[in-house]
Amino acid sequence: MSPFLSVLSSVVAWVGAMLAAASVAVIGPARLRETWDGLRGRIWDARRAVALVCVVLLASAVGRPALLDVSRLFGIQATALIYGLEGGFVAWVQATFASPALTAYFSRVYVYGYAFLVAFPAIAYLALPRTADLRRLLVAYALNYGIGLVLYTLVFAHGPRNVMPDMVTPLLFTNQPDVILLASEVNQNSNVFPSLHTSLSVTVGTFAVLTRDEYPLWTAVAVPLSLSVVIATMYLGIHWLTDVVAGFALAFGCVVLAYRLVEPRDAAAEASDAGEGRRSGSEPAAED
């Protein structure tokens, strides 16, 4: 099997197992059974949000190469600006904290933890009787991706591992070289501003706080995990602090917008029929 497929299947297998375990632990068997019965109705109810996410992901997949060319030719060349702004912060993070155990932890968090973090809320909110949270989450994902894509096009910048190789070790890629194949499949090394890993994780973390009454256990998992992803982006030398700050801003902006855009309509449409077909939610793999 090619290195790319083997790393991809490993990610899919691990994330699948984590999703299954978390579904049982966080949502509970009873609610899961209930979800299964009302699945079709809820998806139908959230169809527009689902369609929106699909459209944005599709546009991203199709349009990225062309947008990258536009970015290279006409984008703001921001590497020097960002580097001038924050200097060796990421190098300092590595020099101060790097240890084999942390590297192993953050590498896994960056790849497996992140995919799990982004995928699980879609299942969890699907299991809620009302679809408002699900729709908000999906709209927020779509906004993150959409705005992120626009910013990628406007801003052309390379990450710290590419600019300060003498001080910043590309820890992820030296320790798990296969992963770079996966990462480069879905991303370009010049797409660093903003950090979509940060913005999507923070989006999930924020939603987890907002829905803590429904899933207190998930809040306890999601907040530390999302912060781990945020730190991992810098610890591994992939993103600048500037990208991370921008990622936070993007995340909060998207959550606010999602709440504005999605009305929690009343139980009208919540009635559910028995449904077939499984949907595991949007599942972007490793992604900056």
Binding site: M1, R72, F156, N162, P165, D166, F173, D178, S190
Partner: protein
């Protein structure tokens, strides 16, 4: 801009008040002066993924420039964009990059690089914009003279160029290459292994049956998404020894552009060099007739070239008129169609040697190469010969969507040259932009054409179509196909070779990737010295880089020994002269001895930068600092 204006506005207000007091003159004298601001310089280079070494040099320079009080912008751009910025638009302050020739080159290579006649042309000709009569004179002299006179001229030329520092030579890298020994052997040890002659010199490992099976099995799985068909044909169609040489690179330019004259898309031109044959090639220290069967100089100013029997990849014969066309075309790719000539952005120094060309018969062409020595005359024959029937269609001004803009360029310069038609030992098969490209052996090439049964051939005199070509290239290349795959980093490239999924790496490896090679039994490191020196190039058109004394101080901020030790981990050789890889070319005055630069020694304070000494040197040549230690300059 806003600060001085607001300040001046404030002063204007003051002046108005002062006018009533009757001292307008003095205030005007102050307010009329523009304040100085800190000098800003931008360093351009490629990111670590593209080249792990250049960014290290740029980082050190950035640190040292910052330390002496210059505001530095360290900018990383892709390889194509870097050369577009530097070579085409000449819109840069400093850049860190590599020279384009990997084999030790003759001093005449400096002609294109530094002669003032090219100052207005985009491309590899004088990208620095240096205009020095002393340099021009010496460049002309080394073309004319021979023997000791020439050595003297070359010595003086190097010394002058070193003094003037239009660019600072930093180090000659070892061309680190990870190779898989199981399927091909003969990787050159002393030179760049992945070069035209290096690839042509490879031999298939004799017992390639078992190894080949394992190898092609690996090839199938790496590429099962897009290459199942091509490896099937490679194995099936021409079965004899039919192996595919699998190379990996981080440089994706060869997967989208095959234009031999596109400066921003070529690194060393290795693969376009296999698509397009030159008249002669250098092989080690000798010059070998290639597309030319032979050449002679009937007079001091002419070279007569007799062509081998050869065909273009599309079946058309290669004729003397193609050769004549090539030289005319390289001089002006518009062939007179545009008011100002649009010369080629590569090979300009060489092609400028040929002033006129005349077709004597189908297979003989007479080139007018006025008054140059043998070495330089042979150099004129080292340009890729292009098919007239393809490139004569590309002489119109370049347009976008049918609209003509004032780009001062032709379609020939900007075309990606899809489906390239050359006459070389390899021909193009297919490519996926950004992912991979496949070439195959040209079965009609004179290297593989059998010698004896040449009844149908018209070239009566020479019976052997390979006359004059060293035997180790006969019947080559040793592979049926050459597949180059793009990977995201040097580390993944090395991993790919170590796992047996590829036979060799093409692009530069950082020293960090070297230990990974040892983890596999069959993979090993081949490191030949490359002549493609790393250098810091200055845009001499811009103040204060226009000042040779200022450039000399910047050169002294580069700790070349530390670069070699730390960035290259010893896999490089520091140097002062661009000819340091060429045998016996460097005079004693420029020899690198005792770990210091003979002309522009680093401001060394026990291993780190002596900031005070550097500032003193800048003060000595007339520069000033403000109270916070910032180097001041006129805002530009």
């Amino acid at each position: 801009m806003t600060r001085p204006i607001s300040r001046r506005a404030a002063l204007a207000g003051l002046g108005l008040a002062a006018a009533s007091a009757g001292c307008l003159g003095r205030t005007e004298n102050i307010a009329g002066r523009d304040p100085r601001s800190q000098l800003t310089l931008e360093i351009n280079t490629t990111p670590a993924d593209g080249d792990p070494n250049g960014i290290r040099i740029a980082r050190q320079l950035e640190e040292h420039l910052t330390a002496v009080g210059i505001d530095v912008r360290l900018n990383t751009v892709g390889q194509t964009d870097l050369w577009r910025k530097v070579l085409v638009n000449q819109n840069f302050d400093l850049y860190v990059g590599q020279f384009v020739e990997t084999e030790p080159f003759d001093s005449d290579a400096l002609y294109g690089l530094t002669h003032s006649q090219f100052v207005a042309e985009p491309g590899w000709q004088n990208p620095f914009g240096i205009t020095e009569m002393a340099v021009d004179d010496l460049l002309e002299r080394q073309r004319r003279t021979a023997g000791n006179d020439r050595s003297d001229a070359v010595d003086a030329l190097q010394e002058t160029v070193c003094d003037l520092q239009p660019f600072s030579v930093v180090a000659f890298p070892d061309a680190l290459t990870a190779v898989q020994g199981a399927r091909f052997e003969g990787w050159t040890q002393d030179r760049q292994p992945v070069s035209v002659t290096g690839l042509l010199g490879l031999d298939a490992v004799p017992d390639a049956d078992s190894a080949g099976d394992g190898g092609s099995g690996g090839g199938d799985t790496t590429a099962d998404d897009d290459n199942a068909t091509s490896s099937a044909t490679a194995g099936g169609a021409d079965g004899e020894g039919g192996a595919t040489l699998r190379l990996v690179t981080t440089d994706d330019r060869i997967t989208e552009n095959w234009n031999p004259i596109a400066a921003e898309y070529r690194k060393y031109g290795t693969f376009t060099g296999l698509l397009y044959d030159p008249l002669v090639r250098t092989d080690g220290e000798s010059t070998v007739p290639w597309l030319a069967a032979d050449w002679e100089r009937p007079g001091a100013n002419t070279v007569d070239v007799a062509l081998r029997d050869a065909r273009w990849h599309d079946g058309e014969p290669v004729t003397a008129s193609d050769v004549a066309f090539t030289y005319r075309f390289l001089r002006d790719t518009s062939l007179g169609g545009v008011e100002t000539a649009v010369p080629t952005p590569r090979f300009r120094g060489r092609s400028s040697l040929v002033e006129d060309e005349r077709v004597l018969d189908d297979a003989t062409v007479r080139l007018t190469v006025p008054d140059v020595n043998e070495t330089v005359a042979a150099r004129a024959l080292r340009v890729p010969i292009l098919p007239e029937h393809v490139w004569s269609e590309r002489t119109d001004p370049a347009t976008i969507g049918g609209f003509e803009f004032d780009f001062e360029t032709t379609q020939a310069v900007v075309t990606n040259n899809p489906e390239p038609v050359g006459s070389g030992p390899l021909r193009f098969v297919e490519a996926t932009a950004g992912e991979s490209v496949v070439f195959e052996r040209n079965p009609d090439h004179f290297l593989v054409r059998p010698a004896p049964d040449a009844d149908s051939e018209t070239s009566g005199g020479t019976t052997d179509p390979r006359a004059g070509i060293p035997p180790r290239y006969h019947g080559k290349p040793a592979f049926d196909r050459l597949r180059i795959e793009v990977l995201p980093s040097d580390i993944s490239a090395v991993e790919s070779v170590a796992e047996g999924l590829a036979d060799a790496t093409v692009s530069n490896l950082g020293p960090q990737s070297v230990p990974r090679i040892g983890r596999s039994d069959d993979a090993r490191l081949v490191s030949g010295r490359s002549a493609a020196f790393y250098h810091v190039g200055y845009n001499v058109r811009r103040s204060p880089l226009s000042n040779p004394r200022f450039r000399a101080v910047i050169a002294r901020l580069i700790d070349k020994s530390a670069v070699v030790d730390e960035a290259f981990e010893g896999y490089a050789q520091a140097a002062a002269s661009p000819l340091a890889a060429s045998p016996d070319a460097v005079p004693d005055s420029l020899a690198w001895t005792d770990g210091t630069d003979p002309v522009h020694p680093f401001f060394d304070d026990e291993g780190s930068l002596d900031v005070e000494a550097a500032r003193a040197a800048l003060r000595d040549i007339g520069y000033r600092f403000d109270s916070e230690g910032r180097l001041l300059s006129r805002a530009q």
